[in-house]
């Protein structure tokens, strides 16, 4: 009665080998300096391929009804909305020069004892505890 096609063990093993190879590849590539953000791009591209392999074969989506495709794509589409519009804020905060109201969140503060002379082990939370009241 199950509508799913039974996927052969051979396919599973092939996908598995693919995933292991990609894991080794992504680790190896990470140690090579590709310049700028290309390392991140490569890592994410490989991760997307791996995720697709798992979704399509291990999770049987390749053989599933259209409705399953709709639910899967909806999840990722909404993720895209979250990323696009949030980053729309962060990527446009610093354009147009000084008169704008804001800058990238880089304009932030370090804990008090960050100078090179700060003793190891003096923690951020200890110093904060003295001046703030964040307890339940």
């Amino acid at each position: 009665m199950n509508s799913d096609a039974i996927i052969s063990v051979r396919t599973y093993v092939l996908v598995f080998i693919g995933l292991i190879v990609l894991t080794i590849t992504t680790t190896a590539v990470a140690f090579i300096d590709l310049g700028a953000q290309w390392n991140t791009a490569a890592a994410l591209a490989i991760a997307v391929i791996k995720a697709l392999l798992v979704i399509l074969f291990f999770m049987h989506v390749l053989y599933s009804r259209p409705l399953t495709w709709v639910f899967v794509s909806a999840g990722f589409f909404w993720l895209l909305i979250l990323f696009t519009l949030t980053l729309a804020d962060y990527f446009t905060r610093n354009i147009g020069g000084a008169p704008l109201p804001s800058a990238a969140p880089a304009a932030q503060a370090a804990p008090r004892q960050t100078s090179e002379t700060a003793p190891r082990g003096l923690t951020t939370s200890e110093s904060r505890a003295t001046q703030r009241t964040g307890t339940d």
Binding site: I81, L85, L100, P105, T124, G134
Partner: protein, 547 residues
Amino acid sequence: MNDAVPERRLHYLNVSYGVKSWLCTTDHKRIAWLYLLSITFFFFIGGMAATLLRLELLTPQGDLVQAETYNKLFTMHGVMMIFFFLIPSIPAVLGNFLIPMMIGARDLAFPRLNLMSWYLYIIGGLLAIGAAVAGGVDTGWTFYTPYSSIYSNTHVTLTVCGIFINGFSSILTGLNFIVTIHKMRAPGMTWFRLPLFVWSHYATSIIFILGTPVVAIALALVALERVFRLGIFDPELGGDPILFQHLFWFYSHPAVYIMILPGMGVISELIACFSRKRVFGYSFVAFSSLAIAVLGFLVWGHHMFVSGQSIYAGMIFSFLSMMVAIPSAIKVFNWTATLYRGSIALDAPMLYALGFIGLFTIGGLTGIFLATLAIDVQVHDTYFVVAHFHYIMVGGAVMAYLGGIHFWWPKMTGRLYPEGWARLAAVTIFLGFNLTFFPQFVLGYLGMPRRYHAYPPEFQVLNVMSSAGASILAVGYLLPLIYLVWSLRYGAVAGMNPWKATGLEWQTPSPPPTDNFEVTPVVTREAYDYARAEPQSDYVPGEVEHV
């Protein structure tokens, strides 16, 4: 109750008795009752907080309660009303009760999950109340960082846990509805024969399942930051407090549509039934629900126009927010057009429905003020905003909820409510509501910020008007509580279809049997087929065939 019925017919209420038969039930109709009782409880807790807020605001000095108490009261009002009353109100009570019946199913797809949703809701609610009893929370329902994560020394973590758990209740309800609507429709019940109530709940469920997890994780991160001193939003470490606002509003703006969309569904049913007409532009109304759900996810940044967000992002969000006006306008115009050449009866549910259209129109139009960037700069975080969202949430969602409760009361209980009292309550609520919240628009543009315990004296007259209205509103809300309980014992026996409405839920006895229908109905007509119905008979719309 059975003295009116000569022979004892088994229905969902009398099929079994005892506390256990209710607390362990998987019947969607009984779970709806569990929700009805619990959200009423939370509504009156939130209402009591509101009463104290309005009493405090009678005088500008802030002399009734201390600032600290006031801050905890408005936080409690917001948390209770939004997370524990408005969000579950129509979906978990009316949606739970009606969706399976409207589509001709015996239950929701996952009845045990449905019961679990209620338990999660109750656990979440008890945690939130526990936090209030233990001393309260003073962050406002928005939990903005770094105040909530570092500075507030009230019970933020406990409250946040309550909301987090309650979030899973919403998610499971939404999941249940979507699967039910996809998979459990009776033979012949095609998508375009679905009542608009079902369409609007489908749209609501999309928001439940895709929005709720984001606020859950945002609040969880706040809790982690408090408990384990992680640094996620902490500006001391270089964190960005605005990031929390992005995550929070990604859910909490669509959450407004969680509250209003089911209300729109109710209104479509009421308008059609009491003007005996098919809803004008059915497919436009149906798709506008989906459009609101999807567009609702693209506009959250309009809560952040003055927050330090990039002004370019502000413009994008402003533009997208304007787009939501269109599906909303489509609905209002179509409802109005449905009345044209109808056969209009002004029973209490219809009074609520017509009141809803008026109040929602005002709420929606003032929403355009807030989406207009330069105006939002002036009125952001003032009473203008407070007035606007109360017009949507109270004038919209609560009016629709009450209208729906009255309309389906005969189906839920088998009894009619007293019509005269119900009309009186509807009119009282409408008048009290407007007196309470209209002055707040004026206050807002004048510049009275929200969450003010004491306020400059020139704002007093308008505040007194608002408090006076609130007392009328309170009476208006107590009336249905009394006469609806009264009707359980003394109300007239309703019969299967007192309104001569067309939905499948009216083709089964009141109260319905546990499996809803004695035989699975086969649907052969479109929704709201009043034109072809026989008004003089106790009629059976959409032929019910025996399978």
